[in-house]
Point group: C2
Chain length 312, copies 2
């Protein structure tokens, strides 16, 4: 088996039409969804096209399918069913501190039951984006010995499907969530304490995303702090967390290993992809992104936290 | 002039009795005040004892004077006047997210007019802790060609004494403030934009403190992100920002230079001292702190943000 074939990344989650308003502008029914952001971000790094499992309605245009494929996303697992695609609409406060959901229409996503194409069961890296933990578990049932499984979740499942989520957590290597979700899941206000409690629930590693304050990784090798890149012209933060997951998982799939050093680097590549994501609406920044820019920003991250050793 | 004599640090600000309640416990009338925290933190690093300019009442006990002197603080500029020492009282929410001031009694601090002992006018490094900008300006009038001046401020002065603050900012090298204050002063919600606006008001450098999300430095050499050290058992965050300032200024005074590299290292030493400060009430953690622990935590900070260069 070649190196590329042994480092396949599969992403399960939503593909959606987003209507978003920020201080910069408003966009109506643009391509969004956690799986779209994650897969496209990962595709910059993975050796093979990223396998996307999701569902869209018959209103999903060929233009979007073409864009995803062009961005190295394999759509063999993207089901198309009769009905309308998942729609989400939201507005950000001018300072981007709060986001208000105006409308959520699950549409075809309501009855989504992830089905992995036969050959995809052997995928090595799995990312279970934020969906019902019962569905996340069903993906694991269809997967044969993945090397590394990461998942996301949200407040809605933490309060509404806690037993299912707890069952899922026993079977994943890494949980990615934001600071509020970490506090809610663990009952601990202090983030290192929250991470300790969550790791005791199953995942060897926990990544706590803090928006423009960066992300923290807690794992067996200690703690790692990834800064957020200071972006002066934020256009739309939608998808930043999913782009982080994409950069992160994409790097694991590329290197084919999950050593503590690799996971630290994956944190930075996650931050790099997230920092590009917020510079435009939808996947627009990714459409004009190339590897040289990723390389440059990685170097800028290294500079952002660089300081010299001292003698005291 | 010897190296030590050319690197003197002078700190002006409050010395107080704090009554503090946190989830850990309650402490009544313990030693506090911005100048106390800053000077004691700096004293671990400075070549000479830190010069403190402040005022206390006749209720200030010899025990506190002895403690400060033992911690390498020179009290020749600490005025003692008839009346009661400044008192502050506050309570932190269990998650340390919010702090409520219960009582403020300015007492002798109300009429504080900083007076520098004759030989202290030639101090090289000045830190003007958070006091009325008119008083901060009066210190500059008494100082002869300092190498580097940094100041702190707060919402009260930003709204109430803006013209005086603006005048002060034209004469300082660095402004240290928290994220909310940076937004208030600049009118910009985005932190890089806020820093740009503040730098246009005078200071070459701006440090934006973000509590447990670390601190950002914006200066002519770009941006530097200092993480906060993840502390699981936070006891009392009071004085963390002032301890940061102390570690920061202490390192400048120790090295005797203010190159971009030195300022980055100063950011980390500020974070190191702040991380110790929160581990106990008042100055208690500093009383049992030694240089080897500072050295160890500096190394831990380096590890916290370390990641390897990559080839993509």
């Amino acid at each position: 088996m070649s190196e590329a074939a042994s480092s396949s990344l599969l992403v399960v989650g939503s593909v959606a039409f987003d209507t978003v308003e920020t201080r910069a502008a408003k966009r109506v029914e643009v391509l969004g969804g956690a799986a779209s952001y994650c897969a496209v971000a990962a595709g910059f790094l993975t050796p093979a096209p990223v396998r996307l499992v999701g569902v869209v309605g018959d209103d999903f245009p060929a233009e979007h399918t073409a864009l995803l494929e062009q961005q190295r996303v394999d759509l063999a697992g993207l089901e198309r069913v009769a009905g309308r695609t998942f729609r989400w609409s939201g507005i950000y406060s001018p300072d981007f501190m709060t986001r208000t959901t105006l409308d959520t229409q699950l549409n075809v996503f309501q009855d989504f039951r992830p089905k992995l194409p036969a050959t995809w069961g052997a995928s090595d890296y799995l990312f279970l984006a934020n969906i019902d933990p019962t569905l996340q578990l069903s993906v694991l049932e269809q997967a044969a010995r993945p090397k590394f499984v990461a998942c996301d979740t949200m407040n809605f499942w933490i309060s509404g499907k806690r037993p299912e989520l707890v069952r899922l957590l026993k079977r994943v290597d890494l949980l990615l969530l934001n600071d509020e979700e970490a506090r809610q899941l663990s009952g601990e206000a202090n983030l290192p304490a929250a991470a300790r409690a969550i790791r005791a629930m199953g995942p060897h590693a926990v990544v706590i995303k803090r928006g423009d304050a960066g992300a923290l990784l807690f794992h067996e090798a200690g703690v790692f702090s990834a800064p957020a890149f200071p972006i002066e012209n934020v256009v739309d933060p939608t998808g930043a967390g999913d782009s982080f997951a994409g950069g992160f998982m994409g790097w694991l799939a590329r290197t084919g290993n999950t050593t503590p050093e690799t996971i630290r680097t994956a944190m930075i590549l996650g931050s790099v992809l997230a920092s590009f994501c917020v510079e435009d609406f939808s996947l627009d920044r990714f459409r004009r992104l190339d590897l040289s820019e990723i390389r440059e920003r990685f170097t800028a991250f290294a500079d952002l936290v660089h300081f010299e050793k001292i003698k005291i």
